[in-house]
């Protein structure tokens, strides 16, 4: 009977070999995939178990981890939750790291980023839980406060940039929410809060400044059209453009009027300079057709259209429609039809003009620091693109100064400072309701802040709220806060 026992031993060996292969497959080859499986609470618990890095604005934490006595060990708190919710995001045990830096810089904050590996090596060797890196933001607390307060209860967004570096000085989206309600350790309350926030029809979790929502830009897009015209060398600020009372779109019987149905100059023509100053629709409709979709698209892309960004918050790509027919191209000249933008993109256009034509890549994290505050990484300002020539930038600046001094954007004027700007009133739907825009920079001769403001229409009907009336005063407060920073 020994021979079958030996064969039985072989069978047992094969059974154990199968187990060894299977467990190796799971714990070695599949381990990473399993760790990243959706709903794996272990990965979350492990991250929760270590001290997450803080997020600092002007040296003050807007998000930090505080030790607790319960199983989760650390609780994330947000000292000015409502004001910074769309910058920080939330860090919820139930829902994980939410939008904002908590998600887009999760690996750094959690301390698991590969760039931290060598710094973490001593911790790993002695079995100490590594701590996350601290992020110092480019946000200017005063500018952020001004933007937050000026936008108030209105839905919309404000983005402010440093034109010379691309540093994001303010990033506000309303309505906002309190991230503390999602980071709490009362998991039932967290679930309730999340369900309430995610089903709220005003969508407070959406970051209107960088994406989720793309807006029609309306007349602020005229800056791009005017830039394309000047860059084409066929136009200069004094070029006379046709400015009829109504401009008939090519190939149709539809015509577009000027705002309020008035004439742009009292004549049948007006200069490019005045077209921008008074935001003349008919001349820009004509100009768009004169330049053509291809030229306009190239200019838009030079400013950043068509490209999504990680600042590191994800910024949705703005778009210029490529499939437009002649009539639709005419409409794009005044920022209608299918032109869609993020406030961040509009701010980049202004910042590019302010910076002599050079668009800088926007960024939100100034410095990454270790727990002991030693520097790990500092963001260097990077050029995004030379969108326009310095001459074009200078000419556009002069036009934008005129918009604020004697045009549609007078309510953006800051006493004692020369402000450059452009208003926009972007219709959507068919009822005449419109979002109000303003974008600009200051001081015009040596800009240190560029801003984009969008205020959503409160109703579905036209209520007379133009960019100049609603958005310009908000921009004014933001520019005032930033101009002397």
């Amino acid at each position: 009977m020994n021979s079958p026992i030996r064969k039985l031993a072989v069978v047992v060996s094969l059974m154990f070999a199968a187990l060894l292969v299977a467990i190796t497959w799971i714990q070695f080859f599949q381990a990473d995939t399993l760790r990243e499986t959706a709903g794996n609470r272990r990965t979350l618990l492990q991250e929760y178990g270590r001290e997450r890095g803080a997020i600092l604005v002007d040296g003050t934490p807007i998000a930090e981890s505080e030790p607790t006595d319960n199983d989760l060990r650390w609780m994330r708190t947000y000292s000015q939750g409502q004001r910074y919710s769309h910058v920080s995001g939330y860090y919820s045990f139930t829902y994980g790291p939410g939008p904002g830096l908590e998600r887009s810089s999760n690996a750094l904050l959690a301390g698991s980023d590969s760039s931290l590996f060598y710094r973490r090596l001593p911790d790993i060797l002695i079995g100490r839980e590594p701590t996350g890196a601290t992020l110092e933001l480019t946000i200017d607390a005063d500018v952020q406060r001004a933007a937050d307060e000026a936008l108030g209860d209105r839905r919309g967004a404000v983005v402010a940039l440093d034109p010379s570096t691309g540093a994001i000085l303010a990033l506000v989206s309303h309505p906002t929410y309190d991230p503390n309600s999602l980071s709490s350790h009362n998991l039932n309350a967290v679930q309730q809060a999340y369900e309430q926030l995610s089903t709220d029809e005003s969508r407070p979790l959406t970051n209107r400044a960088t994406g989720g929502d793309l807006y029609p830009p309306g007349s602020v897009f005229k800056l791009v059209v005017a830039a394309a015209a000047l860059e084409s060398n066929e136009f200069d600020p004094d070029s006379e453009l046709p400015s009829p009372l109504r401009y008939t779109l090519p190939g149709t019987e539809t015509s577009i009027p000027n705002f309020g149905g008035s004439s742009c100059s009292g004549e049948d023509t007006t200069t490019l300079f005045d077209s921008v100053r008074v935001s003349c629709n008919t001349s820009f409709g004509w100009l768009a057709n004169e330049l053509g979709a291809e030229t306009l698209n190239q200019q838009a892309e030079a400013f950043g259209f068509g490209q999504s960004l990680q600042v590191p918050l994800p910024v949705t790509a703005s778009r210029y429609p490529v499939d437009a027919d002649d009539a639709q191209v005419g409409l794009t000249g005044i920022g209608q039809y299918d032109v869609r933008v993020t406030p961040m993109q509009v701010a980049m256009v202004s910042a590019g003009i302010a910076n002599g034509g050079q668009v800088m890549t926007p960024y939100l994290v100034e410095t990454v620091r270790d727990k002991d505050l030693s520097e790990i990484d500092t963001t260097k300002a990077q050029e995004f693109n030379d969108a326009i020539s310095e001459t074009t930038a200078q000419q556009l600046t002069e036009m934008m100064v005129a918009v604020v001094e004697s045009g549609s954007g007078s309510r953006a004027a800051v006493p004692g400072v020369q402000v450059a700007g452009k208003t926009g009133t972007a219709e959507f739907g068919t009822s005449g309701a419109a979002h109000a825009w303003f974008t600009g920079f200051a001081p015009a001769d040596d800009p240190n802040i560029a801003v984009a403001v969008v205020v959503e229409s409160a109703t579905d009907d036209w209520t007379g709220e133009t960019g100049g009336v609603v958005a310009a005063p908000i921009a004014q407060q933001v520019l005032e806060a930033g101009v002397n920073r």
Binding site: I5, A31, L34
Partner: protein, 462 residues
């Protein structure tokens, strides 16, 4: 096999003591590790715990020196190490669940462990020669079947998580199938050693298969019927697979006929296929096996276990530093996954090797045994441990569909622990007999051997 030597072979008892102290050292180290990791303190009762642990196991070692001098020296250290590690993990999971001193699962498990060791020692005292068990072949059958079917009784029978495997008497819950495993192995061994000639030699040849006679098919059909009954009535795929596999293995060892294995496996496959077609709970298990992460998976039990094992990775999180309690049945059916998470691939490789070594020592004992009954009993008991590990760990790792079986020596649960200690005691007894030199055997063996036990076995001593 029968070699007369002039000097006494090594008993291996000193080796056993050294290995035993080594095993105890590992377990105590793990105990301190869990205390430090979970509660950030060295366990306050460390001295007392260590004392009791050393006392009980060394006492058992002394029983072996006294009653089974030539027993295999590896069995006790391996069983001790596995049992001890199981205790540490169960305690660690008690901490994670926040259980208080009065409700520790580990506390009960300590008592069961002690009881298991005491019963194992008792087995060594009571059963002086394993061949005496052969007298109880048919009693073992009746006891085994009765135990297996006991959970089906009204009043005392008791179902948990959809499987009717328990009986409950006076507040104590017991899984009789664990003990039935031993009784049925005794029956299989006794029955087959008596009928093996008829089964192996008579019959017609068909192609390459030696077909048995119709009336000899009886026992295998009975075993098959019983397995299917367990599968259907008690909803227990694991036990069904275990008993049938055990029977086929012992049958094969007894008859050396591959045809039995082929007939047996075909029958079982057919039965399992029909069960899969008919019964929803079997289909559920198979669906979960094929796609544990599927959107329509009716349970995330398999998925949670896989995530736990994946989380451990190559080196594990370290004892007390993972989250094994996020898996269901973390201290019973899934205790192996708990180890995989905290000890990592390296740790469970070592644990699987311990099991493989345990089975190997059992099979080695079977080869060394000097008569058929001992061979079949040792081979059956050893294989049952190996098969049980395969069924339960294979279920966690998706080698086969998941079935709820205990992991020998590790899982929380008294019946399993006691049964496995008794199996170890029987293996110790058989190995003592097998390794004892002839001179001493003749001198010691003043008992009447079971009839036919010492008769020459065809092919028995090759």
């Amino acid at each position: 096999m029968t070699t007369v030597t002039t000097f006494r072979p090594r008993t291996g008892r000193t080796t056993e003591l050294v290995l035993l102290l080594f095993a105890i050292g590992i377990v105590l180290l793990a105990y301190v590790n869990v205390g430090l990791a979970v509660r950030e303190e060295v366990p306050a009762n460390l001295g007392m715990t260590a004392g009791i642990f050393v006392g009980v196991t060394v006492a058992f070692h002394l029983v072996l020196r006294w009653k089974a001098r030539y027993a295999d020296p590896l069995l006790l250290p391996i069983a001790t190490l596995l049992n001890g590690l199981g205790l540490v993990m169960i305690l660690r999971l008690d901490y994670a669940a926040g259980r208080g001193v009065d409700s520790l699962v580990a506390g009960r498990q300590v008592m069961w462990s002690a009881l298991g060791i005491i019963l194992a020692a008792a087995v060594l005292f009571i059963i002086r020669d394993h061949r005496s068990l052969r007298r109880y072949t048919y009693i073992a059958m009746v006891v085994g079947f009765a135990l297996l079917l006991a959970p089906m009784l009204p009043v005392i029978g008791h179902a948990e998580n959809g499987s009717r495997l328990w009986i409950r008497i006076a507040g104590f819950s017991f899984q009789p199938g664990e003990v039935a495993k031993i009784a049925l192995t005794v029956f299989f061994a006794g029955y087959l050693v008596a009928t093996r000639d008829a089964l192996s030699l008579v019959g017609r040849r068909f192609l390459f298969l030696q077909l048995p006679r119709g009336r000899d098919l009886g026992p295998i059909l009975a075993a098959w019927g019983l397995s299917i009954l367990i599968l259907v009535a008690q909803r227990d795929l694991g036990s069904s697979l275990l008993f049938f596999g055990l029977f086929v293995a012992v049958l094969y060892v007894a008859t050396e006929r591959v045809s039995w294995i082929i007939i047996g496996l075909s029958l079982f496959a057919a039965g399992a296929f029909v069960a899969w077609r008919i019964f929803a709970h079997v289909q559920t298990r198979v669906d979960l096996w094929l796609d544990p992460f599927g959107a329509d998976a009716s349970s995330d039990q398999v998925a949670k276990g896989l995530m736990g094992m994946g989380h451990g990775g190559l080196f594990g999180t370290g004892l007390g530093e993972g989250y094994p309690h996020l898996t269901y049945f973390a201290n019973s059916d899934y205790i192996f996954a708990s180890f995989a998470e905290e000890l990592g691939l390296i740790g469970v490789f070592a644990m699987l090797m311990l099991y493989a070594l345990l089975v190997e020592r059992g099979l080695r004992t079977a080869i060394g045994a000097r008569e058929g009954f001992g061979k079949l009993l040792a081979a059956g008991l050893a294989f049952s441990i190996g098969l049980q590990v395969f069924v339960v760990v294979g279920g966690l790792t998706r080698v086969i569909p998941l079935t709820g079986l205990t992991t020998p020596f590790l899982s929380a649960g008294g019946s399993s622990l006691i049964a496995n200690w008794i199996i170890v005691a029987l293996l110790l007894r058989i190995s003592d007999h097998a390794r004892r030199p002839v001179a001493e055997r003749v001198a010691d063996d003043d008992r009447q051997p079971a009839p036919g036990a010492t008769a020459p076995q065809p092919g028995g001593a090759r």
